[in-house]
C-alpha cells in the first residue's frame, strides 16, 4: 500500500536544515516528530505542504512527487492537507464561522447551505457554536485553538499536521479538544502528524516516533520503543540531561 506521505533522502538548507531525511507515514498512521530547538523540526511541515520548494531528494504525497506541480495543483495540494500551527493565524477580520468555512469556500462544490451545515456541525463538536459570530480578538486561548483546528480539519483532510499547537493552554480547557483529537487519531483512514518539543503530550495518540537532531533522524520507532529504547539521543531527551550525544548550550 502506498504511504500517505514519504520523504526520500530530503536535504534542504532552510532556517533549520535537513540532511538526508527519509521516512514514510502510512494512511491511518499517526507520526510524531520531536527534537530540540534547531533540530530541523521547523522544516518538516513546510516541505509536506509545499511551502518550501527548494530541496534535494523527494517528497511524495499519495505516491506522487510534490515537486513540479503547476500553480493550480499546488493550491489543491495545500488545500488538501490540514495544518494547525502554533501561531494559529486566524483571520482577524473574520468571525469564528467565517474562519472555519474558509477552506470550504475554495476548491469545493458545496452549496452555501451545505457549508453552513458542515461549519455548524464542526463548531458544535468543538463547543464554540455560541461564539460563531465572535472575532478572534474576543476569544480565549483555547477557543482560538479550537477555531484554528476547526479550520484545519473542516474539509476532513486525510493528513492533518499539528505543529507546536498546544502550548500554553490548561489541560482542563483542552479536555474536549483532546477527546476530539483522540477520535481523529483512531480513524483508520486518516493520519495526523505531530511536530512538537513535548512528545509526552501526544504519546497516546502517535504510532510512530521520529527524533531529529541537526537535520537528521536519530531515532525512529514505535510507542513502546519510544518509551523503552536506550538510544542515547532519546535517553538524553527523556532525561532532560545536558549529558549525552546532543550538544546543548
Amino acid at each position: 500500500m502506498l504511504p500517505l506521505i514519504e520523504f526520500i533522502d530530503v536535504t534542504c538548507a532552510a532556517d533549520e536544515p535537513l540532511n538526508g531525511v527519509s521516512f514514510r507515514v502510512a494512511r491511518g498512521e499517526n507520526a510524531l516528530f520531536f527534537g530540540i530547538e534547531g533540530s530541523g523540526l521547523k522544516s518538516i511541515a513546510p516541505l509536506m505542504i509545499g511551502l518550501e520548494e527548494s530541496y534535494e531528494g523527494e517528497v511524495r504525497y499519495r505516491g506522487a512527487p510534490t515537486r513540479g506541480l503547476d500553480y493550480l495543483a499546488k493550491l489543491r495540494h495545500k488545500n488538501g492537507i490540514g495544518y494547525l500551527h502554533g501561531d494559529y493565524g486566524l483571520i482577524s477580520n473574520m468571525s469564528v464561522e467565517e474562519n472555519i468555512a474558509l477552506r470550504l469556500e475554495y476548491f469545493s462544490d458545496y452549496s452555501p447551505e451545505e457549508i453552513r451545515e458542515i461549519t455548524g456541525r464542526m463548531m458544535r463538536e468543538l463547543h464554540i457554536y455560541d461564539r460563531r459570530a465572535a472575532r478572534p480578538v474576543e476569544l480565549t486561548g483555547s477557543q482560538i485553538l479550537r477555531t484554528a483546528y476547526g479550520r484545519a480539519a473542516v474539509n476532513d483532510p486525510d493528513l492533518l499536521i499539528i505543529e507546536h499547537a498546544l502550548v500554553g493552554h490548561s489541560a482542563l480547557d483542552l479536555r474536549s479538544f483532546m477527546d476530539m483529537l483522540r477520535a481523529r487519531t483512531a480513524h483508520p483512514d486518516r493520519s495526523v502528524v505531530f511536530i512538537t518539543y513535548d512528545p509526552q503530550k501526544f504519546v497516546d495518540f502517535a504510532d510512530a516516533f521520529h527524533m531529529l537532531y541537526k537535520g537528521r533522524i536519530v531515532f525512529s520507532g514505535s510507542r513502546s520503543e519510544f518509551l523503552e529504547s536506550d538510544n542515547p539521543y532519546l535517553v538524553q531527551f527523556r532525561n532532560v540531561s545536558p549529558e549525552g550525544p546532543m550538544d546543548i548550550p
Partner: protein, 276 residues
Amino acid sequence: MMEPESISAGSGGRLTAAAGAVVLRYLRGAGDFCAYVVSIFQSFRSLRFIRMRSVNAIILNQIVYTGVHALPITFVIAGLLGGVVIIQGMTNLPKFGIEGYFDNLLVIIIARELGPLVTALIVIGRSGSAMSTEIATQKWSREILSLEIAGIDPRLFIVIPRVAASIVSIFCLIIFFDIAAFMGGYVISLTQIYVPVGVFFQNLVFSFSLTDLLSTVIKSLLFGLLVPLISCYYGMMPRSKFEIPIYVSRAVSRTLFIIVVLNAAVSALFYFSWME
C-alpha cells in the same frame, strides 16, 4: 600626501558609484514591483475556484471604508477648496477683466486637477496607509500564511478585491468632491455677486468637455489601480514587527510621488495643445 586631482577623481568616482547604486536599487525595486504585478495577473487562474460571495464581502467592506467613510472629510475639504478657488478668482480675475469666468475657473482647477489629485491624496492618507498596515500586521500574525496553507492565493484574496473597491471608491469620491467644491464655490461667490443657482450650475455643465470627463475617468482608474497595488506591495514586505512602520511610511510616500507624477502626465497628455 594625495594630489588634489586624485582626490577630486576619487570623490567623483565614489559619487558616481553611489549614484549608480541608488539607480540600481530603484531599478531592482521597479523590477520587483513589476514581477509582483505579473504574479497578481497570474493569480487570476485560480479565480474559478473562488466563491464570489466571499470576495464580494471584502470588496463591499473596502468600499465602505475607502469610499463611504471618506465622504465627510472629502466634502469638507472639497467645499473649502472650492471656496478658496473662488476667493482667489474674485480677487484676481477682475484685474484681468475676466471676472465672468468663475465657472470655467472652477472646472479647470477643481474638476480637471484638484478633484482627482486631492481625492487620491485623501485615499492614500486614509486607506492606502491602512491597507499597508493591515496587510503587514496580517503577515506578521501569520494570517497570510494561513490563507496560503489553505490553498488560497493571498494575492487574489487580498489585493484584487482592494483594487476593485478602490477604483469604484475613487471614481465616486472624485464626483462627490467636484460637486462639493462647486457648491462651496457657489456659496462663497454669493457673498460678492448673486448668480441664480440654476445659471451657475448650467454654466458649469457647459464648461465641461468630453476631455474633462475622459481625463477624470482615466485618472480614477489609474489611481484606483495604483494606490492599493503599491500599498499592498509594501504591506507584504516587512519581515518583522519592527519593519512595519518603515514599509508603511514607504508605501505612503512612494504612492504620493507616483500619483502626483501620473496626474501631471495624464493632464499633459489631455490638455497640452500639441496633443490636440
